[in-house]
Symmetry: C2
Subunit: 191 residues, 2 copies
Amino acid sequence: MSPRAGLDTQTLVLAAAELADEHGMEGVTLALLAAKLGVRSPSLYNHVNGLKELRILLATHGLQLLYADMSAAIKGVSGGEAVHAISRAYVKFAQQRPGLYETTLQAPEEGNAGLEEAGAKPLQLIISVLSGYELGKSGELHAVRGLRSILHGFAALRNKGGFGMPLDLEESLIRLIDAYIAGIGCMRTGD
Amino acid sequence: MSPRAGLDTQTLVLAAAELADEHGMEGVTLALLAAKLGVRSPSLYNHVNGLKELRILLATHGLQLLYADMSAAIKGVSGGEAVHAISRAYVKFAQQRPGLYETTLQAPEEGNAGLEEAGAKPLQLIISVLSGYELGKSGELHAVRGLRSILHGFAALRNKGGFGMPLDLEESLIRLIDAYIAGIGCMRTGD
DNA sequence: TTGTAAAACTAATGGTATTAGTTTATATTA
DNA sequence: TAATATAAACTAATACCATTAGTTTTACAA
């Protein structure tokens, strides 16, 4: 423990991400992280600039993993199938990495370049999936906001146990996306 | 300050709700609340059983106010108009009381009777607004989950600044609800 | 082999919640 | 009205937490 633990920033972020999933974003503390890594908490400051920066790094990392999952999900599919696939991937990620997903939404772009970019990529992916519907410039904007609302709302309520019984949650998501696609014409504008 | 500040639980909750809106749910601390009330923090324990219970009381209070707003919004309207009205009221509440709204979603029912009831009432209101669509037993369940997802997702992303420019956010919500209603047939089941 | 930079450490500060025990104001009762 | 009991405030203390300052020590490079 004492003679050089061999830490670096990435190791900290990966360990902190595990803590987030185990104890919630709230439960990620420098004291706990240091203990997990066999080190005293002030030592962490050699690799990260305090809890605030750690949270930004966590959010960035989470967004990168989320992007990878969403991206893989829509490989080779398009249209409604792609909307369903990207939605399933989004909710599944939030379910499998609940704490990491949580960090993803705090203070979206706080002037941090890496975080801004990491957040823009999943957004761009959603835009690309909806572009086939020819909704117009502002219509596409409304549609993206709508799908993001659906995905985050469903994921958050599900993760917090807000849906009561866990029965047929997959079907609830499928039907919600079906309804969204069926009504997507309401988003269309003439620009 | 010293001779009897005349506090009671309700006063604490109202003051804490203000703090939540000013500083976020995170920023509601017993130390800050005590300072706001001109009292030392241990004194608060005469009226509330620690921070955990205060948060439960905050959530309960928030749900009651949310219920009142939603309830007032659908007086005398029905069908799609009611769905729009209840949605507008929900998002507006989350916007006007961001910190209080935040407390509303933490650990939905943790065995606390008052919180459970306070949470059930807005839910019942949504059910009543959707009952006119004759979606069937489980179809109604899917539809309620869907609308709740939309409302929370939209409110949360909006509050966190996740939608970039604040232009025509009202229109985004209107169109999203329009799409949901247009596609609500996808929820229908035969039971 | 020696010197340096970085990574660990200890110690200290100030913030947090919470518990225990004490004082005191208010309200009730004799 | 006076005495008493209850409850609401207090102080003091404990145990966490993040963070900063200053020190030791390791690993690597000259």
